[in-house]
Amino acid sequence: MTYLAKPKLLSADAPRNALGYTRRDYEGAISTLCAGCGHDSISAAIVQACFDLDIEPHKVAKLSGIGCSSKTPDYFLGNSHGFNSVHGRMPSVLTGAALANRNLIYLGVSGDGDSASIGIGQFAHAMRRGVNMTYIVENNGVYGLTKGQFSATADKGSKSKKGVLNSDSPIDLAALALQLGATYVARSFSGDKEQLVPLIKGALCHNGPALIDVLSPCVTFNNHSGSTRSYDYVRQHNEAVNRVEVILPRDPIEASYPPGSLRRIVQHDGSILHLRKLDIDYDPSDRIGAINHLQERQALGEIVTGLLYVDSSAQDMHSHLNTVEKPLNQLGDAYLCPGSKALHALNDALM
């Protein structure tokens, strides 16, 4: 961390997006996390993704629970709506917010403690209900705030900073999300923004529950040899199945790839995902195949990253529930209280 606020001075050449904002305009307060924390890189990736997508900051609601990861919404999108909820309860608060106003972009930020331990029930139901959200898990395998005890996602056999071996089986949140019905599932690494930023952009454009499990080394308690969440370990065992490029309808398509190596997926909002295949046999539209692939590779000690699964025709909770288009707070009295005539008509219909 640092005590100083970032100086506002900026070169006149600093890039600006279609709204005229610089990346700096998407930042928040100065981070108080440890120097070198992977979470800060994820915050920077979120800033980059929102900048690239020309998102108006006031159209975003960022919600979180408790933990190092859940502090981070303070450090990005300083001009967006924010809600720091109870430990593990981000998914249900977010679900409520999404039901009340479907016009915002919902970004849930959580950690492996918040989502895989205390909040796992919440996590499961947000996924299976199809809440239209981007759910980012900043996964470092330890409880950083309480000095580095293993979390529920820590690999069996991995070693803590004090030398203790983990004897419990890990929860794979990506595999769980696949099983629970998430329609956009990805895994990435905080130290690889080239992979992470497009995955976040794709998730923000996705219409349905999008989970990104981001391995994010805890530089203080989980970056030693014997850890399976250190910068070195993740880099050495990273097996990306594809590289994603998000293309908005307004962008010119420039890249050309050898035949068969590219997969083009058009999402609900018109955004196009260009998947450059690294594993030629991997099919990101096959949910069961994805689950199997994850399990197989995990058994070999590999960390599978990339866009693991996407359902381009996904529908979200609002279409399941057939809710009203308008945000609830914009529905007038006349609409909400149609009067005795309407009541009679309803009563008559029940007779």
Partner: protein, 595 residues
């Protein structure tokens, strides 16, 4: 692109834009920190070592450092470096005890300097402390050269010149005023071990136009007129005055005229307003004093009525550029403009005059009448004669004269020791970590976002009444301290150690100006385009380091780095460190590199 070798002295020196731009390489950020710490004497002495005349330059320097200042690339205006220099001079205590003394035992070498301007006095100072016996010959009543004769007293009071020339004289330098050297041959007969010529560019260019001779009584060559004003020979001017020319001399002429009774003073310049040679702040000062500047007008004739000047006739021109971007001024074809006036001051250029140097004694001159010199050593074709200042390579400014004085002094020292002049001593360079704790540095890394402080001035009414009244008051301590905070400490360098880096991206994410990128290496042009923020300023280097585990390289664009140290504060492994770079450019007496 090849990895950057930051141990090459020039690399980090260039990062300190102000110091690099200063011809005398004054360590600007260091003296600004000393001012901030209230150590004015130390700040003054640091300046004195580099530029010899801090009090003078703090008022009238051409300030090549300020357009170069990094702050100007990220903020509206650069740090007021020049005016902070004046603060050091204004607020220091008596520094006589802190100045070096000339050795009591001399080395037996005798050096003559001709002219007592900034170049000669620099040579004298540099050599006197090394044990040389230096004699300065000057035709004026007191030392200072053009600093005393050309610059109006309302910009540079005599007391400041007296003080700083006095420090040089105090080093056992013999100042022989009122001695005009009329023959170099005769001077050389005096068995000097070396002679330095620092006689400036003493001749103002004249305008040989119709009416010039007839109205001669009302048309003056600017620098002569300024000298006459400086020494009290001229005390008034007519009501309506035209100053021809667009350099700083023109600005001094028009502002002096305003103070001597010129109520309707106009400056007329051939070029466009923006291309004028005068410094922007001098133009501002003139306009502030109610002096209009008219551009694109070329003088054609002086009109007169039986020898009484009635005005100047101008041809209207416009600028046209050829394919190579060269400008020519072409008549517009519009009718000529006649502007009425009672007196004209000509400030259209200065020339050298070496009538006192015989052409058969071995000092060669080129077809422009300039001495043939080695540009680096400043040695003439007669080995023991050296040139410096405006006399050497044409009119420039005080700080350039000082820088050339240092070089000439090195040459004279090497020459007197029978060492090759081309093997010149290199700079002393040091690089030291400034880390004091996890978030503590031995410099103030907080970046001020405040605007440049304006220098308080006398009211126009007071200023125009008295030509000797100094117009600028200088910063008071509160303004000065605020202004020091604006310095970005560019001499505290970001130093990267690749083998410590774990590539966590913390520095990339925190950098306020997005100047750090980790990426695959490539050719510089292509690399510049794909950095986090494109590096468009080709004059500023890319700092590239390799040796990272992923095989990528770290690229830092030096252009807009704020030297805030946030990368180093955020770095979990100390791969980034803030290290103070000191470069002490060699002066006479320094060890030359051994081959």
């Amino acid at each position: 692109m090849k990895p950057t070798d930051i141990s090459a002295p020039d690399y980090l020196h260039k990062v300190v834009d102000c110091q690099w731009a200063c011809p005398a390489h004054t360590p600007v950020p260091e003296y600004i920190r000393q001012i901030a710490a209230g150590d004015f004497a130390a700040a003054y002495l640091l300046n004195w070592r580099s530029n010899v005349f801090p009090g003078i330059l703090g008022r009238v320097c051409d300030r090549p450092c300020e357009p170069a200042c990094r702050r100007g690339r990220v903020d509206k205006e650069p740090v007021a470096i020049c005016r902070l220099k004046r603060v050091a001079a204004d607020f220091k205590e008596d520094i006589h005890e802190l100045l070096p003394k000339a050795p009591t035992v001399k080395n037996g070498k005798r050096i003559a300097c001709v002219g007592a301007g900034p170049a000669s006095l620099t040579v004298a100072r540099d050599l006197a402390v090394q044990g040389y016996s230096v004699t300065v010959f000057d035709s004026g009543q007191s030392a200072g050269g053009m600093m005393r004769s050309q610059i109006p007293k309302f910009r540079l009071p005599d007391s400041v010149i007296d003080e700083e020339c006095g420090y040089v004289a105090g080093l056992d330098v013999e100042l022989r005023q009122n001695e005009w050297i009329g023959s170099l041959r005769e001077l050389l007969a005096g068995n000097w071990d070396a002679v330095f010529v620092g006689t400036g560019a003493p001749r103002g260019r004249d305008a040989d136009l119709p009416g010039r001779k007839e109205a001669a009584a009302h048309i003056h060559v600017g620098i002569d007129w300024l000298a006459n004003v400086a020494f009290g020979h001229v005390t008034k001017i007519a009501r309506r005055v035209i100053v021809l020319g667009g350099g700083n001399t023109a600005m001094d002429c028009c502002r002096s005229a305003r103070r001597l009774g010129g109520e309707d003073v106009h400056v007329v310049v051939r070029s466009g307003f923006d291309e004028m040679k005068a410094s922007p702040w001098e133009k501002e000062d003139a306009i502030h004093e109610g002096i209009p500047i008219h551009n694109y007008l070329v003088q054609k004739a002086f009109t007169h009525d039986n020898g009484r000047l009635t005005g100047v006739l101008f041809e209207k021109v416009q600028a046209e550029y050829d394919a190579a971007g060269r400008r020519s001024l072409v008549p517009t074809g519009e009718p000529d403009v006649h502007r009425e006036c009672d007196e004209v001051l000509l400030a259209i250029g200065q020339e050298n005059a070496f009538t006192w140097i015989e052409r058969d004694i071995g000092v060669e001159f080129d077809r422009h009448g300039m001495p043939v010199l080695d540009a680096k050593t400043l040695q003439s074709t007669l080995p023991r004669v050296f040139f410096g200042g405006d006399a050497a390579l044409g009119p420039k400014n005080i700080i350039t004269a000082v820088a050339q004085g240092h070089e000439a002094a090195i040459s004279i020292d090497l020459f007197c020791r029978n060492e090759p002049l081309t093997q010149r001593p290199g700079p002393l360079v040091n690089l030291v970590s400034q880390k004091m704790g996890i978030h503590e540095w031995s410099y103030d890394n907080h970046v001020s976002e405040e605007a440049r402080r304006k220098v308080p001035v006398k009211t126009l009414e007071e200023a125009l009444k008295d030509i000797k009244l100094e117009f600028e008051l200088g910063y008071d301590l509160k303004l000065a301290c605020g202004e020091t905070e604006r310095c970005l400490n560019c001499d505290v360098a970001t130093v990267f150690t690749p083998k410590l880096c774990i590539e966590c991206d913390a520095c990339v994410d925190i950098c306020p100006t997005e100047c750090i990128t980790f990426t695959a290496n490539g050719e510089e042009d292509e690399l510049r385009g794909r950095l986090k923020a494109p590096a468009k300023n080709r004059e500023q280097a890319l700092y590239l380091a390799e040796g990272l585990k992923t095989g990528r390289v770290m690229v830092k664009d030096e252009n807009v780095c704020l030297h805030c140290g946030m990368c180093a504060e955020r770095c979990p492994t100390g791969a980034w460190d803030m290290q103070k770079f000191t470069i002490d450019v060699a002066q006479a007496g320094a060890e030359a590199p051994r081959s």
